[in-house]
Protein backbone atom coordinates (compact mmCIF):
# COMPACT_ATOMS: atom_id res chain seq x y z
CA UNK A 1 0.00 0.00 0.00
CA UNK A 2 3.04 2.24 0.07
CA UNK A 3 2.31 3.61 -3.38
CA UNK A 4 -1.05 4.94 -2.24
CA UNK A 5 -0.40 8.40 -0.94
CA UNK A 6 -3.92 9.67 -0.35
CA UNK A 7 -7.10 8.01 0.80
CA UNK A 8 -10.63 8.96 1.70
CA UNK A 9 -11.13 8.82 5.43
CA UNK A 10 -14.65 9.29 6.65
CA UNK A 11 -15.74 9.94 10.21
CA UNK A 12 -16.86 6.84 12.11
CA UNK A 13 -20.58 6.17 11.89
CA UNK A 14 -21.10 9.40 10.04
CA UNK A 15 -23.37 8.64 7.12
CA UNK A 16 -23.93 12.29 6.21
CA UNK A 17 -20.25 12.95 5.62
CA UNK A 18 -19.33 10.63 2.77
CA UNK A 19 -16.76 13.19 1.63
CA UNK A 20 -14.16 12.91 4.35
CA UNK A 21 -11.08 15.06 4.60
CA UNK A 22 -8.25 14.19 2.24
CA UNK A 23 -5.45 12.79 4.34
CA UNK A 24 -1.93 12.44 3.00
CA UNK A 25 -0.74 9.00 4.12
CA UNK A 26 2.92 8.53 5.07
CA UNK A 27 5.17 7.40 2.25
CA UNK A 28 7.03 4.43 3.62
CA UNK A 29 9.68 2.21 2.05
CA UNK A 30 8.62 -1.30 3.15
CA UNK A 31 11.09 -3.40 5.11
CA UNK A 32 12.77 -6.17 3.09
CA UNK A 33 12.43 -9.80 4.18
CA UNK A 34 15.36 -11.71 2.64
CA UNK A 35 14.94 -14.56 5.17
CA UNK A 36 11.47 -15.29 3.87
CA UNK A 37 12.70 -15.66 0.33
CA UNK A 38 15.46 -18.03 1.38
CA UNK A 39 12.94 -20.15 3.30
CA UNK A 40 10.55 -20.19 0.35
CA UNK A 41 13.32 -21.25 -2.01
CA UNK A 42 14.45 -24.07 0.29
CA UNK A 43 10.91 -25.34 0.82
CA UNK A 44 10.21 -25.20 -2.92
CA UNK A 45 13.28 -27.29 -3.62
CA UNK A 46 12.31 -29.87 -0.99
CA UNK A 47 8.70 -29.98 -2.23
CA UNK A 48 9.75 -30.47 -5.84
CA UNK A 49 12.22 -33.15 -4.83
CA UNK A 50 9.50 -35.05 -2.92
CA UNK A 51 6.96 -34.66 -5.73
CA UNK A 52 9.51 -35.80 -8.30
CA UNK A 53 10.48 -38.75 -6.11
CA UNK A 54 6.86 -39.83 -5.78
CA UNK A 55 5.73 -39.23 -9.35
CA UNK A 56 8.58 -40.82 -11.26
CA UNK A 57 9.16 -43.56 -8.67
CA UNK A 58 8.12 -46.82 -10.39
CA UNK A 59 7.35 -48.43 -6.99
CA UNK A 60 4.23 -46.26 -6.71
CA UNK A 61 2.74 -47.89 -9.82
CA UNK A 62 0.76 -44.83 -10.86
CA UNK A 63 -0.64 -46.69 -13.86
CA UNK A 64 -2.27 -49.13 -11.38
CA UNK A 65 -3.54 -46.18 -9.30
CA UNK A 66 -5.31 -44.71 -12.34
CA UNK A 67 -6.55 -48.13 -13.40
CA UNK A 68 -8.34 -48.80 -10.10
CA UNK A 69 -9.26 -45.24 -9.01
CA UNK A 70 -12.75 -45.58 -10.53
CA UNK A 71 -13.04 -49.37 -10.37
CA UNK A 72 -16.63 -50.50 -9.58
CA UNK A 73 -15.77 -52.13 -6.23
CA UNK A 74 -13.80 -49.03 -5.21
CA UNK A 75 -16.70 -46.72 -6.08
CA UNK A 76 -19.11 -49.06 -4.27
CA UNK A 77 -16.68 -48.96 -1.33
CA UNK A 78 -16.82 -45.15 -1.35
CA UNK A 79 -20.61 -45.40 -1.31
CA UNK A 80 -20.68 -47.85 1.59
CA UNK A 81 -18.15 -45.83 3.58
CA UNK A 82 -20.34 -42.77 3.12
CA UNK A 83 -23.45 -44.70 4.16
CA UNK A 84 -21.70 -46.02 7.29
CA UNK A 85 -20.37 -42.56 8.17
CA UNK A 86 -23.65 -40.73 7.67
CA UNK A 87 -25.95 -43.29 9.30
CA UNK A 88 -23.60 -43.97 12.23
CA UNK A 89 -23.22 -40.22 12.74
CA UNK A 90 -27.01 -39.77 12.73
CA UNK A 91 -27.34 -42.56 15.30
CA UNK A 92 -24.61 -40.87 17.36
CA UNK A 93 -26.25 -37.43 17.14
CA UNK A 94 -29.66 -38.73 18.21
CA UNK A 95 -28.14 -40.73 21.09
CA UNK A 96 -25.91 -37.84 22.16
CA UNK A 97 -28.85 -35.41 22.13
CA UNK A 98 -30.82 -37.79 24.34
CA UNK A 99 -27.80 -38.28 26.62
CA UNK A 100 -27.41 -34.52 27.07
CA UNK A 101 -31.09 -34.07 27.91
CA UNK A 102 -30.79 -36.95 30.40
CA UNK A 103 -27.61 -35.54 31.89
CA UNK A 104 -29.26 -32.15 32.47
CA UNK A 105 -32.57 -33.53 33.71
CA UNK A 106 -33.75 -33.30 37.29
CA UNK A 107 -34.20 -37.08 37.44
CA UNK A 108 -31.15 -38.62 39.19
CA UNK A 109 -31.68 -42.05 37.59
CA UNK A 110 -31.56 -40.56 34.08
CA UNK A 111 -28.44 -38.60 35.00
CA UNK A 112 -26.74 -41.76 36.27
CA UNK A 113 -27.66 -43.78 33.17
CA UNK A 114 -26.26 -41.04 30.93
CA UNK A 115 -23.04 -40.95 32.94
CA UNK A 116 -22.66 -44.74 32.82
CA UNK A 117 -23.27 -44.84 29.07
CA UNK A 118 -20.57 -42.25 28.41
CA UNK A 119 -18.22 -43.98 30.87
CA UNK A 120 -18.61 -47.35 29.12
CA UNK A 121 -18.58 -46.37 25.45
CA UNK A 122 -15.76 -43.89 25.86
CA UNK A 123 -13.76 -46.20 28.07
CA UNK A 124 -13.56 -49.26 25.79
CA UNK A 125 -11.77 -49.40 22.43
CA UNK A 126 -13.86 -49.00 19.28
CA UNK A 127 -12.25 -52.11 17.77
CA UNK A 128 -13.38 -54.20 20.76
CA UNK A 129 -16.90 -52.79 20.54
CA UNK A 130 -17.06 -53.64 16.82
CA UNK A 131 -15.91 -57.22 17.54
CA UNK A 132 -18.64 -57.45 20.18
CA UNK A 133 -21.36 -56.25 17.78
CA UNK A 134 -20.07 -58.78 15.23
CA UNK A 135 -20.55 -61.54 17.81
CA UNK A 136 -23.91 -60.19 19.00
CA UNK A 137 -25.88 -62.78 17.02
CA UNK A 138 -23.80 -65.55 18.61
CA UNK A 139 -24.33 -64.21 22.11
CA UNK A 140 -28.05 -63.55 21.65
CA UNK A 141 -29.33 -65.88 18.89
CA UNK A 142 -32.93 -64.65 19.08
CA UNK A 143 -34.35 -61.16 19.61
CA UNK A 144 -37.77 -61.41 21.18
CA UNK A 145 -40.42 -59.55 23.07
CA UNK A 146 -41.40 -61.67 26.03
CA UNK A 147 -43.03 -61.60 29.43
CA UNK A 148 -40.27 -60.35 31.76
CA UNK A 149 -38.18 -63.43 32.69
CA UNK A 150 -40.99 -65.53 31.17
CA UNK A 151 -42.08 -67.04 27.85
CA UNK A 152 -41.53 -65.40 24.48
CA UNK A 153 -44.41 -63.55 22.79
CA UNK A 154 -42.80 -62.78 19.44
CA UNK A 155 -39.23 -63.11 18.24
CA UNK A 156 -36.86 -63.33 15.26
CA UNK A 157 -33.38 -64.76 14.76
CA UNK A 158 -30.89 -62.03 15.64
CA UNK A 159 -28.98 -62.26 12.37
CA UNK A 160 -32.12 -61.20 10.48
CA UNK A 161 -31.97 -57.87 12.29
CA UNK A 162 -28.35 -57.33 13.27
CA UNK A 163 -26.70 -57.87 9.90
CA UNK A 164 -23.03 -56.98 9.41
CA UNK A 165 -24.05 -53.50 8.23
CA UNK A 166 -26.30 -52.89 11.22
CA UNK A 167 -23.62 -54.22 13.59
CA UNK A 168 -21.06 -51.85 12.04
CA UNK A 169 -23.42 -48.87 12.32
CA UNK A 170 -24.35 -49.68 15.92
CA UNK A 171 -20.71 -50.17 16.86
CA UNK A 172 -19.55 -46.91 15.26
CA UNK A 173 -22.63 -44.90 16.26
CA UNK A 174 -22.89 -45.88 19.92
CA UNK A 175 -19.19 -45.37 20.56
CA UNK A 176 -19.33 -41.97 18.86
CA UNK A 177 -22.43 -40.94 20.83
CA UNK A 178 -20.37 -40.90 24.03
CA UNK A 179 -17.87 -38.43 22.57
CA UNK A 180 -20.53 -36.29 20.93
CA UNK A 181 -22.52 -36.14 24.18
CA UNK A 182 -19.59 -34.45 25.87
CA UNK A 183 -19.19 -32.01 22.97
CA UNK A 184 -22.90 -31.17 23.06
CA UNK A 185 -22.85 -30.73 26.83
CA UNK A 186 -19.95 -28.30 26.57
CA UNK A 187 -21.85 -26.37 23.87
CA UNK A 188 -24.91 -25.95 26.08
CA UNK A 189 -22.90 -25.09 29.17
CA UNK A 190 -21.17 -22.26 27.33
CA UNK A 191 -24.46 -20.36 27.01
CA UNK A 192 -25.07 -17.63 29.57
CA UNK A 193 -27.85 -18.43 32.08
CA UNK A 194 -29.37 -15.05 31.27
CA UNK A 195 -30.55 -16.47 27.92
CA UNK A 196 -32.81 -18.99 29.64
CA UNK A 197 -34.00 -16.37 32.11
CA UNK A 198 -34.86 -13.89 29.36
CA UNK A 199 -36.78 -16.60 27.51
CA UNK A 200 -38.61 -17.63 30.68
CA UNK A 201 -39.49 -14.02 31.30
CA UNK A 202 -41.45 -13.87 28.03
CA UNK A 203 -43.28 -17.04 29.04
CA UNK A 204 -41.53 -19.59 26.80
CA UNK A 205 -41.83 -23.23 27.83
CA UNK A 206 -38.76 -25.36 28.61
CA UNK A 207 -38.98 -27.28 25.36
CA UNK A 208 -39.35 -24.15 23.31
CA UNK A 209 -36.46 -22.44 25.09
CA UNK A 210 -34.30 -25.45 24.30
CA UNK A 211 -35.30 -25.52 20.63
CA UNK A 212 -35.49 -21.80 19.82
CA UNK A 213 -32.91 -20.22 22.14
CA UNK A 214 -30.37 -22.72 23.44
CA UNK A 215 -29.92 -25.17 20.57
CA UNK A 216 -29.15 -22.58 17.85
CA UNK A 217 -26.57 -20.94 20.11
CA UNK A 218 -25.08 -24.24 21.22
CA UNK A 219 -24.72 -25.38 17.60
CA UNK A 220 -22.37 -22.50 16.96
CA UNK A 221 -19.83 -24.03 19.33
CA UNK A 222 -20.82 -27.65 18.69
CA UNK A 223 -20.35 -27.69 14.91
CA UNK A 224 -16.55 -27.32 14.60
CA UNK A 225 -15.69 -30.22 16.94
CA UNK A 226 -18.53 -32.28 15.46
CA UNK A 227 -17.00 -31.71 12.03
CA UNK A 228 -13.80 -33.11 13.47
CA UNK A 229 -15.67 -36.11 14.82
CA UNK A 230 -17.38 -36.72 11.46
CA UNK A 231 -14.02 -36.80 9.72
CA UNK A 232 -12.77 -39.12 12.46
CA UNK A 233 -15.81 -41.31 11.89
CA UNK A 234 -15.13 -41.41 8.14
CA UNK A 235 -11.73 -42.87 8.78
CA UNK A 236 -13.00 -44.96 11.69
CA UNK A 237 -15.14 -46.90 9.20
CA UNK A 238 -11.89 -48.58 8.12
CA UNK A 239 -12.15 -50.60 11.36
CA UNK A 240 -15.43 -52.30 10.43
CA UNK A 241 -13.53 -55.34 9.17
CA UNK A 242 -13.65 -56.33 12.87
CA UNK A 243 -17.40 -57.05 12.52
CA UNK A 244 -16.61 -58.22 9.76
CA UNK A 245 -18.18 -55.81 7.28
CA UNK A 246 -16.46 -56.19 3.91
CA UNK A 247 -17.85 -53.62 1.51
CA UNK A 248 -16.29 -50.37 2.74
CA UNK A 249 -13.56 -48.44 0.92
CA UNK A 250 -10.66 -49.70 3.04
CA UNK A 251 -11.67 -53.35 2.70
CA UNK A 252 -12.40 -53.00 -1.01
CA UNK A 253 -8.98 -51.47 -1.78
CA UNK A 254 -7.11 -53.95 0.46
CA UNK A 255 -8.88 -56.84 -1.25
CA UNK A 256 -7.68 -55.63 -4.65
CA UNK A 257 -4.20 -55.00 -3.24
CA UNK A 258 -4.03 -58.57 -1.94
CA UNK A 259 -5.13 -59.93 -5.29
CA UNK A 260 -2.63 -57.98 -7.40
CA UNK A 261 0.17 -57.95 -4.79
CA UNK A 262 0.49 -54.18 -5.05
CA UNK A 263 -0.51 -52.53 -1.72
CA UNK A 264 0.94 -49.05 -2.35
CA UNK A 265 -1.17 -47.89 -5.33
CA UNK A 266 -4.33 -49.22 -3.66
CA UNK A 267 -3.48 -47.32 -0.45
CA UNK A 268 -3.12 -44.24 -2.65
CA UNK A 269 -6.57 -44.93 -4.14
CA UNK A 270 -8.07 -45.19 -0.64
CA UNK A 271 -6.24 -42.06 0.53
CA UNK A 272 -7.44 -40.15 -2.54
CA UNK A 273 -11.08 -40.95 -1.83
CA UNK A 274 -10.85 -40.28 1.93
CA UNK A 275 -9.29 -36.90 1.12
CA UNK A 276 -11.94 -36.14 -1.48
CA UNK A 277 -14.80 -36.92 0.93
CA UNK A 278 -13.16 -34.93 3.73
CA UNK A 279 -12.80 -31.93 1.41
CA UNK A 280 -16.50 -32.02 0.52
CA UNK A 281 -17.39 -32.30 4.22
CA UNK A 282 -15.25 -29.27 5.03
CA UNK A 283 -17.18 -27.21 2.49
CA UNK A 284 -20.44 -28.30 4.12
CA UNK A 285 -19.07 -27.42 7.54
CA UNK A 286 -18.16 -23.93 6.35
CA UNK A 287 -21.77 -23.21 5.38
CA UNK A 288 -23.17 -24.72 8.60
CA UNK A 289 -20.81 -22.58 10.67
CA UNK A 290 -21.80 -19.50 8.75
CA UNK A 291 -25.49 -20.21 9.29
CA UNK A 292 -25.26 -20.81 13.05
CA UNK A 293 -22.71 -18.06 13.60
CA UNK A 294 -25.09 -15.41 12.28
CA UNK A 295 -25.30 -12.45 14.57
CA UNK A 296 -22.02 -13.34 16.24
CA UNK A 297 -19.22 -14.55 13.97
CA UNK A 298 -20.75 -13.47 10.69
CA UNK A 299 -22.37 -10.08 10.67
CA UNK A 300 -22.63 -7.79 7.71
CA UNK A 301 -20.50 -4.72 8.30
CA UNK A 302 -22.11 -1.31 8.43
CA UNK A 303 -22.20 0.14 4.95
CA UNK A 304 -19.05 -1.74 3.98
Amino acid sequence: MASVTTAMVSGRDDADRDEGPQVRLNEVVPRRHPGRWVAVALLAIVAMQVAYGVIVNPNFHWNVFWQYLFAPTVIAGVGWTLVLTVVAMLVAIVCAGTLVLMRDSENPILRAVSWLWIWFFRGTPLYTQLLFWGLFAVLFPRLSISVPFGPEIIGVPTDWVVTAGVAAILGLGLCESAYLAEIFRAGFRAIDRGQTEAAQAIGMSRGRIWWRILLPQALRTIIPPTGNETIGMLKGTALVLAVPFTLDLMFATSAIANRIYLPVPMLMVAAFWYLAITSVMMIGQFYLERHFGRGQDYVQTRNG
Partner: protein
Protein backbone atom coordinates in the same frame (compact mmCIF):
# COMPACT_ATOMS: atom_id res chain seq x y z
CA UNK B 1 -48.59 2.55 55.85
CA UNK B 2 -52.05 3.95 55.47
CA UNK B 3 -51.88 4.43 51.73
CA UNK B 4 -51.49 0.69 51.39
CA UNK B 5 -55.04 0.24 52.52
CA UNK B 6 -56.61 -0.12 49.10
CA UNK B 7 -59.24 -2.16 47.37
CA UNK B 8 -58.00 -5.53 46.04
CA UNK B 9 -58.82 -4.56 42.48
CA UNK B 10 -56.33 -1.71 42.71
CA UNK B 11 -53.48 -4.00 43.72
CA UNK B 12 -51.11 -5.09 40.96
CA UNK B 13 -48.55 -7.04 42.97
CA UNK B 14 -48.58 -8.12 46.57
CA UNK B 15 -45.94 -9.97 48.56
CA UNK B 16 -46.65 -11.39 52.00
CA UNK B 17 -43.90 -12.72 54.21
CA UNK B 18 -41.68 -13.74 51.30
CA UNK B 19 -38.50 -15.61 52.21
CA UNK B 20 -35.85 -16.95 49.89
CA UNK B 21 -32.99 -19.25 50.81
CA UNK B 22 -30.09 -20.10 48.51
CA UNK B 23 -28.89 -23.16 50.40
CA UNK B 24 -27.86 -21.73 53.77
CA UNK B 25 -27.96 -18.13 52.58
CA UNK B 26 -31.09 -16.26 53.64
CA UNK B 27 -31.52 -13.80 50.78
CA UNK B 28 -35.02 -12.52 51.57
CA UNK B 29 -36.20 -12.42 55.18
CA UNK B 30 -39.92 -11.87 55.25
CA UNK B 31 -40.71 -9.22 52.66
CA UNK B 32 -44.15 -7.60 52.59
CA UNK B 33 -44.84 -5.26 49.71
CA UNK B 34 -47.85 -3.97 47.84
CA UNK B 35 -47.64 -2.30 44.45
CA UNK B 36 -50.76 -0.53 43.28
CA UNK B 37 -51.91 -0.55 39.65
CA UNK B 38 -50.17 2.19 37.73
CA UNK B 39 -47.66 2.70 40.51
CA UNK B 40 -43.92 2.99 39.95
CA UNK B 41 -42.18 1.24 42.80
CA UNK B 42 -38.43 1.81 43.03
CA UNK B 43 -36.15 -0.37 45.14
CA UNK B 44 -32.76 0.89 46.27
CA UNK B 45 -30.19 -0.50 48.66
CA UNK B 46 -26.65 -1.84 48.87
CA UNK B 47 -25.46 -4.73 46.67
CA UNK B 48 -26.55 -8.08 48.01
CA UNK B 49 -29.50 -6.60 49.87
CA UNK B 50 -31.96 -8.80 47.96
CA UNK B 51 -33.42 -6.25 45.51
CA UNK B 52 -32.78 -8.34 42.41
CA UNK B 53 -33.81 -11.54 44.15
CA UNK B 54 -37.10 -9.88 45.03
CA UNK B 55 -37.77 -9.03 41.36
CA UNK B 56 -36.81 -12.54 40.29
CA UNK B 57 -39.23 -14.01 42.83
CA UNK B 58 -42.08 -11.90 41.45
CA UNK B 59 -41.75 -13.44 37.97
CA UNK B 60 -40.75 -16.86 39.32
CA UNK B 61 -37.27 -17.05 37.86
CA UNK B 62 -36.54 -17.92 41.49
CA UNK B 63 -38.94 -20.04 43.48
CA UNK B 64 -39.82 -18.51 46.85
CA UNK B 65 -39.08 -20.53 50.00
CA UNK B 66 -41.92 -19.12 52.10
CA UNK B 67 -44.75 -16.61 51.82
CA UNK B 68 -47.10 -15.64 49.01
CA UNK B 69 -46.69 -13.64 45.81
CA UNK B 70 -49.85 -12.45 44.10
CA UNK B 71 -50.22 -10.64 40.80
CA UNK B 72 -53.62 -9.11 40.14
CA UNK B 73 -54.87 -11.11 43.11
CA UNK B 74 -53.76 -14.48 41.69
CA UNK B 75 -51.38 -16.57 43.76
CA UNK B 76 -48.18 -17.19 41.78
CA UNK B 77 -46.56 -20.60 41.43
CA UNK B 78 -49.01 -22.50 43.59
CA UNK B 79 -52.58 -23.48 43.95
CA UNK B 80 -53.85 -23.25 47.51
CA UNK B 81 -56.45 -25.89 48.34
CA UNK B 82 -57.58 -26.98 51.79
CA UNK B 83 -54.83 -24.96 53.38
CA UNK B 84 -52.07 -26.71 51.41
CA UNK B 85 -49.93 -25.39 48.58
CA UNK B 86 -49.80 -27.50 45.43
CA UNK B 87 -47.03 -26.77 42.95
CA UNK B 88 -48.40 -25.61 39.57
CA UNK B 89 -47.46 -27.34 36.32
CA UNK B 90 -44.61 -25.78 34.30
CA UNK B 91 -47.23 -24.80 31.72
CA UNK B 92 -49.29 -22.87 34.23
CA UNK B 93 -46.16 -21.15 35.53
CA UNK B 94 -45.13 -20.18 31.98
CA UNK B 95 -48.58 -18.67 31.54
CA UNK B 96 -48.28 -16.69 34.78
CA UNK B 97 -44.90 -15.34 33.68
CA UNK B 98 -46.59 -13.58 30.78
CA UNK B 99 -48.18 -11.21 33.32
CA UNK B 100 -44.76 -9.69 33.95
CA UNK B 101 -42.15 -8.32 31.60
CA UNK B 102 -38.57 -8.26 32.74
CA UNK B 103 -35.60 -6.14 31.70
CA UNK B 104 -32.21 -7.36 32.83
CA UNK B 105 -29.05 -5.58 33.83
CA UNK B 106 -27.08 -7.29 31.06
CA UNK B 107 -29.90 -7.06 28.44
CA UNK B 108 -29.84 -10.82 27.67
CA UNK B 109 -30.91 -10.31 24.08
CA UNK B 110 -30.88 -13.44 21.94
CA UNK B 111 -27.65 -12.96 19.93
CA UNK B 112 -28.71 -15.16 17.01
CA UNK B 113 -31.78 -13.05 16.26
CA UNK B 114 -32.11 -9.53 14.90
CA UNK B 115 -33.58 -6.75 17.02
CA UNK B 116 -36.96 -7.37 15.38
CA UNK B 117 -36.52 -11.14 15.82
CA UNK B 118 -35.96 -10.63 19.53
CA UNK B 119 -39.09 -8.52 19.86
CA UNK B 120 -41.41 -10.87 17.95
CA UNK B 121 -40.09 -14.10 19.48
CA UNK B 122 -42.64 -14.01 22.32
CA UNK B 123 -45.67 -12.95 20.26
CA UNK B 124 -44.97 -15.57 17.56
CA UNK B 125 -43.80 -18.52 19.63
CA UNK B 126 -45.67 -18.00 22.88
CA UNK B 127 -48.81 -16.11 21.91
CA UNK B 128 -49.04 -17.79 18.48
CA UNK B 129 -49.56 -14.49 16.71
CA UNK B 130 -49.16 -14.56 12.92
CA UNK B 131 -45.71 -13.51 11.74
CA UNK B 132 -47.03 -10.60 9.70
CA UNK B 133 -49.01 -9.21 12.61
CA UNK B 134 -46.10 -9.72 15.01
CA UNK B 135 -43.73 -7.94 12.63
CA UNK B 136 -45.92 -4.88 12.45
CA UNK B 137 -46.31 -4.93 16.25
CA UNK B 138 -42.53 -5.35 16.59
CA UNK B 139 -41.82 -2.44 14.28
CA UNK B 140 -44.23 -0.25 16.22
CA UNK B 141 -42.55 -1.15 19.49
CA UNK B 142 -39.07 -0.56 18.10
CA UNK B 143 -40.26 2.83 16.86
CA UNK B 144 -41.60 3.54 20.32
CA UNK B 145 -38.14 2.97 21.84
CA UNK B 146 -36.57 5.03 19.04
CA UNK B 147 -35.02 2.17 17.06
CA UNK B 148 -37.20 1.99 13.97
CA UNK B 149 -34.16 2.05 11.67
CA UNK B 150 -32.24 -0.70 13.44
CA UNK B 151 -34.78 -3.53 13.28
CA UNK B 152 -32.53 -5.75 11.18
CA UNK B 153 -29.37 -5.31 13.22
CA UNK B 154 -28.07 -8.11 15.39
CA UNK B 155 -27.51 -7.35 19.09
CA UNK B 156 -23.74 -7.19 18.75
CA UNK B 157 -24.12 -4.48 16.12
CA UNK B 158 -25.94 -2.29 18.65
CA UNK B 159 -24.66 -0.11 21.48
CA UNK B 160 -25.51 -1.03 25.07
CA UNK B 161 -28.22 1.60 25.27
CA UNK B 162 -29.76 0.40 21.99
CA UNK B 163 -29.64 -3.21 23.18
CA UNK B 164 -31.40 -2.33 26.40
CA UNK B 165 -34.10 -0.47 24.48
CA UNK B 166 -34.62 -3.55 22.29
CA UNK B 167 -34.91 -5.58 25.51
CA UNK B 168 -37.60 -3.21 26.76
CA UNK B 169 -39.48 -3.55 23.46
CA UNK B 170 -39.18 -7.34 23.72
CA UNK B 171 -40.74 -7.29 27.19
CA UNK B 172 -43.52 -4.91 26.08
CA UNK B 173 -44.39 -7.14 23.12
CA UNK B 174 -45.98 -9.62 25.53
CA UNK B 175 -48.26 -6.85 26.86
CA UNK B 176 -47.43 -7.50 30.49
CA UNK B 177 -49.42 -6.04 33.38
CA UNK B 178 -46.29 -5.27 35.34
CA UNK B 179 -42.79 -4.39 34.11
CA UNK B 180 -39.81 -5.39 36.22
CA UNK B 181 -36.51 -3.58 35.66
CA UNK B 182 -33.41 -5.09 37.25
CA UNK B 183 -30.77 -2.34 37.29
CA UNK B 184 -31.45 -1.52 33.62
CA UNK B 185 -28.70 1.09 33.35
CA UNK B 186 -25.95 -0.41 35.52
CA UNK B 187 -24.10 -2.06 32.63
CA UNK B 188 -24.20 1.05 30.43
CA UNK B 189 -21.58 3.66 29.66
CA UNK B 190 -22.59 6.92 31.37
CA UNK B 191 -23.49 8.71 28.13
CA UNK B 192 -25.95 5.92 27.21
CA UNK B 193 -27.89 5.90 30.48
CA UNK B 194 -30.10 8.83 29.48
CA UNK B 195 -31.60 7.21 26.37
CA UNK B 196 -32.75 4.18 28.40
CA UNK B 197 -34.13 6.29 31.23
CA UNK B 198 -36.05 8.35 28.67
CA UNK B 199 -37.77 5.21 27.38
CA UNK B 200 -38.65 4.17 30.93
CA UNK B 201 -39.98 7.66 31.62
CA UNK B 202 -42.18 7.34 28.55
CA UNK B 203 -43.55 4.07 29.94
CA UNK B 204 -44.23 5.71 33.29
CA UNK B 205 -46.17 8.42 31.52
CA UNK B 206 -48.28 5.77 29.79
CA UNK B 207 -49.39 4.51 33.21
CA UNK B 208 -47.55 1.19 33.22
CA UNK B 209 -47.22 -0.51 36.60
CA UNK B 210 -43.58 -1.17 37.30
CA UNK B 211 -40.98 -2.14 39.81
CA UNK B 212 -37.52 -0.78 39.22
CA UNK B 213 -34.31 -1.73 40.97
CA UNK B 214 -31.78 1.00 40.40
CA UNK B 215 -28.79 2.90 41.65
CA UNK B 216 -29.96 6.07 39.90
CA UNK B 217 -31.27 7.87 42.98
CA UNK B 218 -32.11 11.02 41.02
CA UNK B 219 -34.21 9.01 38.60
CA UNK B 220 -35.92 7.24 41.48
CA UNK B 221 -36.90 10.60 42.91
CA UNK B 222 -38.13 11.82 39.54
CA UNK B 223 -40.34 8.93 38.41
CA UNK B 224 -41.01 6.90 41.56
CA UNK B 225 -44.33 6.91 43.39
CA UNK B 226 -43.15 4.49 46.03
CA UNK B 227 -39.57 4.06 47.24
CA UNK B 228 -38.35 0.96 49.02
CA UNK B 229 -35.01 0.74 50.80
CA UNK B 230 -33.75 -2.81 51.26
CA UNK B 231 -30.89 -4.11 53.36
CA UNK B 232 -29.98 -7.67 54.36
CA UNK B 233 -33.05 -9.18 52.73
CA UNK B 234 -35.64 -6.98 54.36
CA UNK B 235 -37.47 -3.79 53.53
CA UNK B 236 -36.04 -1.38 56.04
CA UNK B 237 -38.03 1.66 55.04
CA UNK B 238 -40.56 2.63 52.41
CA UNK B 239 -42.44 5.75 51.51
CA UNK B 240 -42.77 8.64 49.08
CA UNK B 241 -39.42 9.10 47.31
CA UNK B 242 -39.14 12.84 47.88
CA UNK B 243 -39.83 12.68 51.61
CA UNK B 244 -37.77 9.56 52.14
CA UNK B 245 -34.73 10.83 50.29
CA UNK B 246 -34.84 14.16 52.10
CA UNK B 247 -35.62 12.86 55.56
CA UNK B 248 -34.90 9.16 55.93
CA UNK B 249 -36.13 7.81 59.26
CA UNK B 250 -34.08 4.65 59.61
CA UNK B 251 -30.36 4.87 60.47
CA UNK B 252 -29.46 2.29 57.81
CA UNK B 253 -31.30 4.30 55.16
CA UNK B 254 -29.52 7.43 56.36
CA UNK B 255 -26.14 5.68 56.19
CA UNK B 256 -26.79 4.35 52.68
CA UNK B 257 -28.09 7.65 51.31
CA UNK B 258 -25.17 9.56 52.80
CA UNK B 259 -22.88 7.39 50.69
CA UNK B 260 -24.73 7.57 47.37
CA UNK B 261 -26.19 11.07 47.32
Amino acid sequence: MSRHVMADRDVAVSLEGVHKFFGEFHALRGVDLTIAKGEVCVAIGPSGSGKSTLLRCINQIEQISAGRVRIGGTLQGYDERNGRLHELSPRAIDRQRRLTGMVFQRFNLFPHMTALGNVIEGPVHVKRMSKAKARSLGRDLLARVGLADLADRYPNQLSGGQQQRVAIARALAMEPEVMLFDEPTSALDPELVGEVLDVIKDLVASGMTMMLVTHEIGFAREVGDHLVFMDHGTIVEEGRPRQMLEAPQNVRTQAFLSKVL
